[in-house]
């Protein structure tokens, strides 16, 4: 079975304009999280879509799903963990509780604050996870990437054509992700910044899916303004 896993565990807002986490801020009259969820609900291959939310916001998330979504039975809210990967593990736990363990389960993890994800990207993630076991959504780097080990001087400038910027979704065979995560040492876990790195650290291949510049992550006030402008197209049919 194929499951969506929307990561909405954050509690802070770097926006300085709101009293709530950014995934709950309105974008053209609906919370950002709802836009993201609606796009996932358009993919009929998902058995269910799980949303990982901080315990303080679980009830609020349930309220808005009830308010905006006409098929709440396709959505399950679970309490997230203290970091991104622990939230994914909480979701996996929830899926295994509801559907049992299986090597055939696929999980498509996605940032709740990327509401412009396209159906093409979601579909290609599912296909790549089925075929290769794991995939990451990326776009070619447009800016030159500069590496500095001390923050003062350049250590290295990698060749730009080989550089990509990671987006989400990141999709996996669920058992592969979980088993690999559990096999890592605490030191290895400490350097993880995203879920694909769990497999990369363990030398397991992760395939690439072509992302889209529009699949932006709304993290700062500037992104929010851009997203508001993008989503502001009026209805015309």
């Amino acid at each position: 079975m194929i499951f969506g896993a929307i990561l909405a565990g954050g509690v802070g807002s770097r926006m300085k304009i709101a009293d709530r986490p950014k995934q709950f801020l309105p974008l053209d009259e609906k919370p950002i999280l709802i836009h993201t969820l609606e796009k996932f609900l358009m993919c009929s291959r998902f058995e269910k879509i799980y949303i990982g939310v901080h315990e303080k916001w679980v009830l609020y998330a349930k309220d808005i799903v009830k308010k905006y979504i006409s098929e709440p039975e396709r959505v399950e809210i679970v309490e997230g963990g203290k970091d991104r990967n622990l939230t994914i593990m909480s979701i996996i736990e929830g899926i295994e509780r509801d559907y049992g363990k299986s090597d055939d389960h696929i999980i498509v993890t996605h940032d709740s604050v990327r509401p412009f994800v396209s159906i093409r990207i979601i579909e290609e993630n599912i296909d790549a996870a089925l075929k290769y076991g794991a995939c990451d959504t990326v776009i070619p780097a447009t800016d030159t990437i500069v590496r500095s080990d001390d923050g003062k001087f350049i250590t290295e400038i990698p060749e730009r054509p080989l550089m990509y910027q990671g987006q989400t979704p990141q999709s996996f065979k669920m058992s592969l992700l979980k088993n690999t995560y559990n096999s890592l040492s605490e030191e290895q876990k400490a350097i993880l910044t995203d879920a694909c790195k769990i497999l990369v650290v363990a030398n397991i291949p992760v395939s690439l899916v072509q992302g889209d510049v529009a699949n932006m992550k709304i993290t700062a006030i500037e992104d929010y303004r851009v997203a508001e402008a993008m989503a502001g197209g009026e209805k015309r049919d």
């Binding site: 974008l27 053209d28 009259e29 836009h35 609606e38 796009k39 609900l41 358009m42 009929s44 006409s70 509401p115 412009f116 396209s118 159906i119 093409r120 579909e123 072509q210 529009a214 993008m230 989503a231 197209g233 009026e234 209805k235 015309r236 049919d237």
Partner: protein, 338 residues
């Protein structure tokens, strides 16, 4: 939900517009699966329409030939996963005796309103026609077949009862589909196709005769005629038809001309001819087209005028399919995976 709409903003330039669609309205949400390019789309893409029309109609999503899959239906008319084709005509005033495609205040998606180049299409259930036994790449040209259906049904209503000899002027995909519909509607009639290109005429194996325009015998006569040339070819085709058609015959004009076309009215009057303009189609024509296309033989024949290009995943690919379309004489279809 935020939907992506791929609009032509000026010739050769696309831009994405993001627009809310409500998942709660009584509409069907369809994921486009296959699309086909029409000459009208190509004229917008290449900037061949006059500047005033372009300024008035753009930005606009192109494409009005589309087959897709139902993703969600709040009207409970279709089940999720049902394969469907979409009707681009937007009904206007409902007047008895007037077809929906000519009714005042009717509209058309991809002519003043966004066409089907969208990630998802939210559309009223009466603009959706289900199909099952047709390849999606063939179902993509249903709108095109329905236009031929409409033209032939108009002839059936308007023309006198002698229906033994038909001529179709033109050798492109429209002429091909009109000839196929005629063959099916009048199995015993003699069908002649007149064109300009021997290679294209070779594909019309199911008609009785084909001629190059300059080799049409002087004494050739027909009961009724379909003009499927358009553009610069309209004038000579209409002149030839008027010269060869029998008295009180019906001429159905289907080709689009950008400029006014002179017609030899003296001979139209003398022969008592009926000239009928036929354009676009309505739901009834779509339903008849689906029924006709469900036959295996019809699908095989249609496949000879369909060229499938690689799937479209990005805006770059949209440019590619329009370029491909210029290099093929017939219908370009492509999978939509944006």
């Amino acid at each position: 939900m935020i939907n992506s709409i791929y609009q032509l903003v000026s010739p050769h330039v696309f831009s994405v517009k993001y627009q809310q669609i409500s998942r709660e309205e009584q509409q069907v949400i369809v994921r486009p699966e296959y699309m086909a390019i029409c000459h009208a789309d190509q004229r917008y893409y290449r900037g061949l329409r006059n500047a005033r029309d372009l300024a008035k109609k753009l930005p606009m999503a192109l494409i009005h030939e589309c087959a897709g899959t139902v993703i969600k239906d709040n009207s409970n008319t279709f089940s999720v996963g049902q394969r469907v084709v979409l009707i681009p005509n937007v009904p206007g005033d409902d007047i008895k005796g007037i077809y929906e495609n000519y009714a005042p205040n009717s509209g058309f998606l991809s002519s003043g309103k966004d066409g089907f180049m969208r990630e998802l299409v939210a559309i009223n259930p009466d603009r959706v026609v289900p199909y099952d036994n047709i390849l999606p790449s063939t179902a993509a040209i249903t709108e095109f077949v329905s236009v031929a259906m409409h033209a032939v049904s108009r002839l059936q209503v308007l023309a006198h009862e002698y229906r033994n000899d038909f001529v179709v002027f033109g050798d492109g995909s429209l002429a091909f589909v009109v000839s196929l519909v005629l063959r099916n509607t009048f199995p015993k009639a003699k069908i002649t196709v007149v064109g300009m290109t021997p290679k294209k005429l070779d594909l019309f194996g199911f008609v009785d005769n084909t001629y190059l325009a300059n080799e049409l015998p002087e004494d050739y006569r027909c009961d009724h005629a379909f003009e499927c040339c358009g553009g610069e070819g309209s004038q000579s085709a209409i002149s030839d038809i008027i010269a060869h058609i029998r008295p009180q015959g019906t001429i159905v004009l289907m080709g689009v001309s950008e400029n006014p076309v002179p017609i030899f009215t003296r001979m139209v009057l003398e022969k008592g001819l009926t000239i009928v303009g036929s354009s676009r189609s309505g739901r009834a024509d779509f339903e008849k087209a689906i029924a006709l296309m469900s036959g295996r033989e019809m699908q095989t024949r249609l496949s000879s005028i369909i060229q499938e290009d690689e799937p479209v995943r990005t805006i770059k690919d949209i440019h590619r399919v329009f370029e491909t379309d210029l290099t093929t004489p017939f219908k370009t279809v492509f999978r939509w995976n944006i």
